[in-house]
Every structure is written in structure tokens, then in C-alpha cells.
Symmetry: C3
Subunit: 200 residues, 3 copies
């Protein structure tokens, strides 16, 4: 079940990459690369930082097939993709929830400090989008708006708080992922943003 | 023979970095760094992804000497470098051919899937230019025009198709490299581009 | 003593990241990330290139605490931070001196060629700022002005020249760091720049 949700996130990230690449009027190859980088970039940086090489997408072909499939779908139905924006937002939100927890687990396996594990989960969930924006010559969107990374961090904190209690690890995993998703949904619904640090 | 052609590619990539850095009016140090990154960036990313560290240019000084030599040459003869543009294009094309095959071979040695090996070859050949463009604050040129990465991919496919036949590995190596070079030359000569995915 | 000076550099780099992020009007999370990346980015790239993973800041929490502390300080006192600019410049200069020597030592331990060790020291000292500028969508400042990387390189050359003499390693370490610092201070004081390679 986790695995198929992880795939939903990969699909959503790939399609979000296609949409950004379209806006920059990239060619077919550029669109595919941006889709790929958006979907696997966060996990790749995570694997590099902890030294787990070759990185995940090089060892498991599922990522490649899913990204290529999602990207071709988005290219073929590019005129209709706007109708999908709400579904995409949901996929993307599920994706960051799952990616966050996967990153945290990898950090725990590598024996890292909880704070570093949370950072690793957040990197897994958000840096695909950061690399996408850098390749498209934009200031990464997560540095400018939306409680996005903050949702990942709150999910990570939940994970470590709950792991002090005698709860089964799979349940902690699920709850932490749900916290990420719910925080993001609430933040977008109620337009909650980080406190403004600039004087008007 | 392969080795000296590889050096030709390194020279061409270094000089192309110098030319882009000139356009941005970078200082001497900036020009040298951009030359270096353009020439070794693709191979460095490849080495990081498969976990072959320290990365190649740290273990073999040839790259450093060749890049510094080519960059100083380009800086000294900067007023005349335009006469060399055709030769540079040829060097660069030979370079991506060689870099593609070197990347594929490294992927095979690391035991990766053929599709991933082709990706690795393409990364080796193209990401030096991508990092160059990012450092110069441009959208990477390979995402916007020219059949460049596509030539690498076609060369990679040729490699794996031919390796099913009882042909000596060195010959397959040479043919795949030649396919990359010929596809690129034909694409530029006949102005062949990827299909336009945008409506006019 | 070295350790606390290293921390001074980390503080200075973190605060310089905060200041650049302010100029881009990033949100709180963006400011913290840019501070972190500026302070640890150079060391992270160094660790990745030589294959020392997990990278340093994942194994030693000091970096995380120092960066978060410095960033919160800079955010809270953001209206007064301008009074600190001279101190910051001094910290930053001490920081590149220390970071350069730390990078060189890591290269020597990894058994690399002196020229590569100097490159590694320079990467450690300067690439945090390069990544900061890329994330902020600017051409990296070190490619455009100031003898900054050049100071690191001169310090590195000093290190290897002196290590041929029967001088204690710690002393060589200190002198090389001081060379970086003094070259930078003199360059800024007397407005020394690299030779202009562009015709007017």
C-alpha cells in the first residue's frame, strides 16, 4: 500500500515538472528531464548525502517507467491537464507526505540524529522541486511561499515524538505522513503562511 | 586512440565554457572555474551518482592540466577564437560521442540496467554544459534547442542493440560513438529538431 | 582554538546567507535554508567529491545548532545587522581561511595530489556562497569580483611550499590560514582585483 502511494507522489511530481517545463517552452527532451529531476531529485540528493550509491532510481527501474509514463501522459493531454490541477495538488501532497517518511526512515537506518533525519525527510520531499526551479532559472518556490517544507518538518517531529511511545512502527509511519498531508491541506485551505519577517 | 579523442572533447568543452563565461564578463577566476566545470561536470555527476569517489578528475591530473591549458589558450587568443568556431563544434561533437560511451561503460561496470547506462552516458556528455549554464544564470541550452542529448541517447541504444551480436566490444564502442557524432552533425546540418510540442 | 575559529566562520557564513535571503524577501524557512546552505554547502560538496559520507554536518550536530542560532540572531536583530557589517566581513574572512585549510587537510588524508587538495580547500571555502547565489538566482558573486578564491589558492600554495620545510604541521596550518586572511584583507583594502581580461 505504501509503495503504490509512493508511486502516486512520483506521478504527481513528474507531472508538476512537465507543467513548469511547458511554461518555459522547453523542447521534448527538456520536458522529460525536468519531469524526471522533479520526481527523483530529492531522493537522489538524500542518497548522495548519506552515501547510498548507486542512487535509488539507478537500482529500481520503477521510477524511470513511472516518470516516463506520467510525462508522456501529461504531454499528450497537455490541453486538458488544467482540469486535473486539483487531483495533482492532492497527489503532490500525498507525495510529500510519503517522501518525508521514507527520507526519515533512511536517516534512522544510517544511524543519524533525529534532527538530521527530519532534515533528510524534508530534503527528500522538497529538493526535487528546488532542482526543478533552479534548472528553469527561477528562485525555488518553496523559499518564497506556502507552508510546504514546514509541513514536512512538523510530520518529522510527530514521528519522533510518537516513537517514544509503545506504538507499532508502521502506525507511527502512517500518522507522521498524515500529519504532513493534513498540515499542507489546512495551510492551503486557510491560507496560513509563515510569519512575515519583513516590515511593510 | 580513444584517450586522445577524449582529451579533444575535454579541450572543446573547456573552451566552450570560456566562451560562455566571457559573454557574462566574468573575472579570470570565474572563467577558469566555468571552463573546468563544463569539461568535468558531467563526469563528476556520473561518478557521484554511482558512488565512484574520489571523482575521476581528483585521481587523474590529466583533466586539470588539459583544462587549464585550454582555458589559458582561449583567454590569450580570445580575439581570434571566433575563427575556431567550426573546429570547436567538431571537437565538441567528438567530445559528446566519447563521453557518452565512457559513461555507458561505467554504468555497465557498475552492473546497472541498460536504460540507466544510457542515461548515465547522456549525463556524462551533457551535464557539464547544464552546470555551466546554471552557474551563468541561464536556462540550460540543451533543454531548449538542438538534438544534442537525443544524439547521445540514440548512440546508447545503438550500443546495446549491437552488443547482442557477436561483435568485438571495442568495435561496438566505436560505432556507438560514431552514431552520436553523425546524428549531431546531420541534425545541425539539416536543422532537424525535436517535434514541437507547443501549438503555435 | 582552531575549532572555535571554524565556528566563527560558520556563524559569519550563516549570517551572510540570511542577508542575501532578506534581499530576495524569502520567507522564514527560505532564510533558514539559505543560511544553512551558505554555511555548510562548501564542506558538503567537498565531502561528496571525496566520498566521505554521510557528510560532516549529518554526523556533528554543532553545525546545525550554530547555524540555527546565528540565523535566528540575524532575523531578530535584522534592523541592526548593518552595524555589524565590518565584524561580519572579518568573521567571513577568518572563515574562508579556516575552511580552506580544513579542506586541504581532508584532501591530504584522502591521498590526493597537492593541486587537487588546493582545489578542495578552495571549494570548501567558496562553494557555500556559490550555492547560495544559485538558489537566489544570481550569478555567483565570486565569479565576478573580489580576490576571494584567489586568496584561498595562495594560502593553499603556501601550505604546500612550507610543508617541504621541517616545520611543525600545526604551524604550517596556521600560517596558510593567515595568508588567506591577509591576502583577502589587503585585496579589499587596496581594491586589488584580478587583471581585467576584457578590452574596454
Amino acid at each position: 500500500m505504501f509503495y503504490s502511494l509512493d508511486i502516486l507522489g512520483t506521478i504527481a511530481f513528474a507531472i508538476s515538472g512537465v507543467l513548469v517545463a511547458f511554461n518555459k517552452r522547453m523542447d521534448l527532451f527538456g520536458v522529460l528531464i525536468i519531469a524526471f529531476v522533479t520526481a527523483v531529485g530529492g531522493g537522489t540528493l538524500r542518497d548522495l548525502l548519506i552515501g547510498e550509491t548507486p542512487v535509488s532510481w539507478m537500482k529500481d527501474m520503477t521510477y524511470t517507467y513511472v516518470v516516463l509514463g506520467a510525462a508522456f501522459f501529461a504531454i499528450v493531454f497537455r490541453r486538458k491537464i488544467n482540469y486535473l490541477r486539483t487531483s495533482l495538488f492532492l497527489f503532490d501532497t500525498i507525495g510529500i507526505g510519503l517522501y518525508t517518511v521514507v527520507g526519515i526512515e533512511k536517516g534512522i537506518i544510517a544511524g543519524l540524529h533525529p534532527v538530521i533525519c527530519i532534515a533528510l525527510g524534508t530534503i527528500t520531499a522538497t529538493f526535487g522541486g528546488v532542482i526543478r526551479d533552479i534548472l528553469c532559472n527561477e528562485i525555488p518556490v518553496i523559499f518564497r511561499k506556502e507552508i510546504y517544507a514546514t509541513a514536512c518538518i512538523l510530520g518529522g517531529i510527530t514521528y519522533f515524538l510518537l516513537s517514544n511511545f509503545p506504538i507499532q512502527n508502521d502506525i507511527v509511519f502512517i500518522i507522521a505522513g498524515i500529519v504532513v498531508i493534513v498540515v499542507r491541506l489546512l495551510a492551503v485551505k486557510f491560507k496560513i503562511a509563515l510569519p512575515n519577517i519583513y516590515s511593510r
